[in-house]
Symmetry: C2
Subunit: 339 residues, 2 copies
């Protein structure tokens, strides 16, 4: 297994990127293809023990810089490190690509070179968002603002594959975020999406209202990115508010250190932690991992670990299959369960 | 001051409606015009002490029944009690109308007979939604699903009048619910609404994100009814979830009765109480109060009290004035503060 690394992407590139990639490669026994200026990369590599590791370099002098307009940058830097690294996945020379580079340029590269899985129109950002419901993912969480009904269906498909593969739920319960439980409720988009979900063959349990978000009754909550962003952030805001209120309320009851423990536990359940490494961009037609620009070696190593895990799960093919099943159900009329 | 009462609207009409109206009239020293079948109404009135009270009856045999399609019912019952009661406001014979009748028919009557305040396209439902932020109202809370940018502006105007009149905030801070604080963020509608709000002359403080909803930094949070409904219900759901978690967590620390008190206080801050009486439908061109169908005499009396208070605040004229000010600001270009 080989993982392509955009060695020049990130605030601490290439030093921390290479350090972390080497750490990850040793821990996970995977090969690396580092993309960037050969000489600089070799200089960084020489700082580490790489004996027995399978490390190649793909040379390029070009790379993206934070703040550049993505389209402009990619037109002028056809050999940018992120571009060449992504092409390695496209060509089958690597099984996943990792970048900590500027979001706009990195996403544009992913879309230009790999595109989305056939039948899904846009990349999706989603995942677990609340510690009270570790078995519930929200799709989308902010990547897609104005969504069509068929995009909400896409999110349901992605969420189903996410929950099945990463949470081991064989038939994830999918719910549509809405203002009432009955069919026919909601805005124009949700009304139409309801019909698509019903015919999809996914395990669609109907609408879910705001008060049921933390109930865990759905494994996948489907909404547009405007609503998803709001739900994730509001959970955090309310968590902080209640936590502060608790600290004051409990002052007369409990010693300070115990109060701190309770308040911290509540925050850990409501405030979404920055994951310790980069995550995959869902629905890209290839495994594409993007992490924070400020990632250090530890986060890069964690991302290498995740990438290996996702490769082993064969996520992209699972998503491709799920899209086909849903598509057949929709065109065939009667719903056929997907498993 | 006279208040028109749809004596036949509500699950316990006319008995509880008349009992409550009489109670309210005595406590608040207001006159009543009861609308319904003369004989039945007089029979109910005779059960109470009405000495010294100013009570008229407008006779009709027709009234709406729960479950009837509103449009059909109103076409066939042109003298339905809610219709005649609403007309009393239109004609200036009463200063407010109260009904506990079926929502659809009651709202349709309000719109047909009184309409909305000029310049506002739809009725608005909103108010305080979270005990942690008693100085923050959300507009809209579920009445309007798919909204245009100019409707979000309408909500901001209504919210401003609400906060000024009912909360005594002279220049209420208005914020637009969004996914980021910067202008240009969000979905198509919020991007355009931002521009309108900026030019409106209202005290627009910009976008507000989910995590800032409970901060209290805005007195008026503007969003469509899909989002508003979600925010109100999610607050409730998270409140219940955290409260249940607290009860478990504190079990080893505190006696049960103290835990119950803390949990109940948290619920009282997050779960929106059914108000003890009916509230006004905002933006109707006249004072129109709608309460729960299951309202009993106490709730009816409370609504009479609210109605008198709103009449004294001259809410409808205040809203009319505010619309004119905002309209001038938008057409004139440069913003002029409204106060």
């Amino acid at each position: 297994m080989k993982i392509a690394i955009d060695a020049m992407g990130g605030d601490f590139a290439p030093g921390e990127i290479i350090k972390g990639a080497v750490m990850g490669a040793r821990e996970e026994s995977v090969g690396l293809i580092l993309v960037g200026p050969q000489e600089r990369l070799q200089q960084e590599i020489s700082k580490h023990d790489v004996s027995g590791l399978d490390i190649d370099i793909v040379h390029t002098e070009e790379y993206l810089i934070e703040g550049e307009p993505p389209a402009y940058a990619l037109r002028n830097k056809r050999n940018a490190s992120i571009v060449l690294a992504t092409k390695l996945v496209k060509e089958g020379r690597a099984q996943a690509v990792i970048s900590m580079g500027p979001t706009g340029g990195v996403m544009t590269s992913a879309l230009m070179i790999l595109g989305t899985v056939e039948g899904i129109s846009r990349p999706v950002v989603g995942g677990v968002f609340c510690g009270f419901t570790p078995q519930t993912v929200m799709m989308d969480m902010g990547g897609n603002m104005d969504c069509r009904p068929d995009q909400l269906l896409d999110f349901a498909i992605v969420g189903t594959v996410y929950a099945r593969k990463l949470m081991n739920i064989s038939r994830p319960a999918v719910a549509l975020m809405n203002v009432g439980w009955e069919e026919g409720k909601g805005n124009a988009v949700s009304k139409e999406a309801y019909g698509l979900l019903k015919k999809s063959g996914l395990n669609f349990i109907g609408n879910i209202e705001g008060n049921d978000i933390p109930s865990g009754k759905a494994n996948v909550i489907v909404c547009d990115g405007f609503v998803g962003n709001l739900v994730v952030k509001y959970c955090e805001g309310l968590g902080r508010t209640v936590s502060a209120w608790l600290e004051k309320t409990l002052r007369e009851d409990l010693p300070e250190n115990r109060i701190k423990v309770i308040a911290a536990e509540l925050l850990s359940k409501t405030v979404r932690a920055d994951s310790s490494g980069g995550g995959p961009i869902w629905a890209i037609n290839g495994l594409f991992f993007k992490g924070h620009g400020r990632s250090r070696a530890f986060e890069v190593a964690q991302t290498v670990k995740s990438a290996k895990y996702y490769v082993s799960l064969d996520i992209v093919n699972a998503l491709r299959d799920e899209v086909q099943i849903v598509r057949r159900n929709l065109s065939g009329g009667a719903a056929v369960p997907d498993q």
